[in-house]
Symmetry: C2
Subunit: 428 residues, 2 copies
């Protein structure tokens, strides 16, 4: 029990807790580090959970039939016909991803930059993460050519990569890889005999649909596992619910036979009352669809405003088309930041924004980027209000940027960037 922990603390959750403490101490803080969605639970959804409070049985390990059928319908409406028997629900898509890594076995290709937990989970599963860079604007999808090289090298070194994780839409970059990139990734995965684990937790938060977001399950249906949940679309991260769609193939059925036992030994079943509410939500009745649309529009409005401030300050930013994340690169300002503020990398930038301006963000290093680049991830999802009343108002507002609390938050960001760059930043 000495030495470093087996994995580091989840950077997003750790940052959230630090900022929450500062807020309790009375400081004016902008929590832009974690990806928690600061929006209220839709009352109709809340009522479904409340009505299910008497459900106390474990139920089937992979989730209730109602939930699995509902999730199958959800994917079916997105062009992915789904057998409910190949759906596995879990207490969050995070534990599902972990159990998938255990069930698949072997080493794991992860995108760089990539969500904080993929590599940590691979290590907990006794595997080696094989990092593969993504191309600019194609976040979440390891570059197919680099994938071939990295897997060949890993195999030559005695490693055993068996799956590649993909994030579509992407966290941390907020970009959506193009159908061409996804297809080439799928081809490479087939060639290399890798299972694709496609984390599509943000799939309903694509607000710029100028380029279609295509799941690798369209291009490599025999080997693609898709995971999603209600955490992001419906802002119920604290409820802990996720679903996985296994491929309808020998690979998928074999994986199902391995995944369900792992789930039975780690978590038994997802929380029963939450399952009942999730079965309702994945059915997408009009009020749910309208709420998701309102959330998506709010994210879009605020992300675009913040993006304009970052680019206005001189940072590079790939086209953000989804989620509530921005991943600006302050490399173009390197000299000024070094000379004026003694800021040389993402870690320094995080300290500068946190200590001088009460703005919590994460350094690129938290997403697996080597060499502490001068880059950060910022989430807009907690800028929408201090309480449920303000947040509900923001969801309904014709122009949320006119709301005083959102305007104030944007001004706080603008002031921080002006201090950073030495000139006023008003956004584009």
């Amino acid at each position: 029990m000495t030495g470093a922990p087996p994995v580091p603390m989840s950077a997003t959750l750790a940052a959230d807790e630090v900022l929450a403490r500062r807020r309790r101490a009375g400081e004016q803080v902008l929590p832009m580090a974690g990806g928690e969605i600061g929006l209220p639970v839709l009352p109709a959804l809340r009522r479904r959970l409340a009505a299910a409070a008497g459900l106390n049985a474990y139920g089937p390990v992979p989730g209730s039939h109602a939930l699995r059928a509902s999730a199958a319908g959800y994917w079916g409406r997105r062009g992915l016909g789904t057998d409910p028997g190949l759906v596995v629900a879990g207490p969050g898509s995070k534990p599902l991803l972990f159990a998938l890594l255990l069930a698949i076995g072997g080493d794991v290709v992860v995108p760089v930059p990539g969500w904080v937990s993929y590599a940590a989970q691979a290590r907990l599963a006794g595997a080696h993460p094989v990092p593969v860079a993504t191309a600019p604007g194609q976040g979440g999808v390891p570059d197919p050519e680099r994938l071939r090289t990295a897997v060949a090298a890993a195999r030559a070194a005695g490693r055993d990569p068996r799956c590649v994780v993909v994030t579509l839409p992407d966290n941390p970059t907020g970009t959506v890889a193009s159908p061409g990139t996804v297809r080439r990734l799928a081809d490479a995965a087939r060639e290399l005999d890798l299972v694709i684990v496609s984390d599509e937790i943000y799939c309903d938060l694509v607000w710029d649909t100028s380029v279609p977001a295509e799941s690798p399950a369209r291009h490599a249906p025999e080997r693609t596992v898709v995971t999603t949940g209600l955490t992001k679309n419906l802002a119920v991260g604290g409820w802990r619910t996720g679903v996985a769609r296994l491929p309808d193939s020998d690979t998928g059925r074999s994986l199902h036979g391995r995944l369900v036992p792992v789930a039975s030994q780690i978590w038994s079943s997802p929380p029963a009352p939450v399952q009942a509410a999730a079965a309702y939500a994945f059915g997408e009745p009009p009020e749910i669809a309208a709420h998701v649309a309102a959330c998506r529009a709010l994210h879009e409005r605020v992300v675009r405003a913040v993006a304009g401030r970052f680019t206005g300050a001189g940072a590079d930013l790939a086209p953000v088309r989804a989620t509530c994340y921005l991943y600006p690169d302050f490399g173009p300002l390197r000299d000024r930041l070094a000379h004026t503020h003694d800021v040389h990398g993402g870690e320094g930038l995080v300290r500068f924004l946190g200590e001088r301006h009460g703005i919590g963000v994460l350094p690129a290093g938290a997403f697996g980027e080597p060499g502490d680049p001068l880059r950060i991830r910022a989430a807009t999802s907690r800028l929408y209000g201090e309480d449920d009343e303000q947040r509900t108002t923001a969801l309904a507002a014709p122009d949320p940027l006119e709301l005083p609390w959102i305007r104030r938050n944007l001004e706080q960001i603008g002031a921080a960037l002006a201090d950073l760059t030495g000139s006023p930043v008003t956004g584009s």
Copy 2:
């Protein structure tokens, strides 16, 4: 993705599902395999969950302050003063146990017989389970002398056992190890420098208190982790909530620093609405305490009646003092069972009771016992009624054995045993 799964399916959950299918097909079945508690949620508790349905934030990884403070008070009332800062909550005590094994690292001593998931979890964590037999009547606590021998042998063979799991009260035997056994186990663990992980999920279901149930945390406070939850005491297995109490020592604080990061990477935080209800329940207001007492009394009445039938049939049974489990040994009937029924071990006995009598039980082999002994585990927890109305009636009945549905269940058990032994069995 070929070959056996990394772990077998949890035997209890698998058996539950098989029997549920038979029941849906219209068969009269007695589900005595799984340990799910077939009792309704106390209305006051259900209301707390319903009222908390709007809570959608992750909150702190180890659980809310309210839940941790409440759990600390719960242990304090049991003579184990507890720092809320050393309490970690999770989505069930099962994932907490798994995360503890990952955080502690090394190999894991498990009691034999022992709960189905300890050894499976150890394997998923990349560890080797080191099985150590318990003495008769001292279920759940590896025999201290055998522990010394087994750990020495494991270390000589290059293994690295770092913790010993204890179940108190015990599943599968329903016994409670004596304070003497617990003290000697604690001494041995200290000598061998092992962390003790004491699974006390059944701690409020001790109904025969003629011998005190003492946690190893009393005898080795510096190295004992205690886990519990609401699953068994309050019949809310489907809610998924558990808590761990880490030792107030350097070992405990170091373990906390390893456990919380593991939790952050596997499950983020326990379901927020459930946390709110759990904080209320661990506070043990009078209505909760009265409900637990009623559940305990019902378990006692039915377990004693079933125990009488098993011993009346000629099986050996150590003194059952807690839980809803019985672990009868049909060894004394070996010749008759072999000649009359071609039943030679626990597996055969399970088939006999299931196929001929619709009674689901588990073989001793599911609890790690080698050589398929002629022994089974039977749970009474789903004999109390077919629906919440019958179960509520059972909880309030002056003599639940007089209720027609419980009497019928006992008769079905009696008939099966009479068939097995060739003579009437009415219980003692």
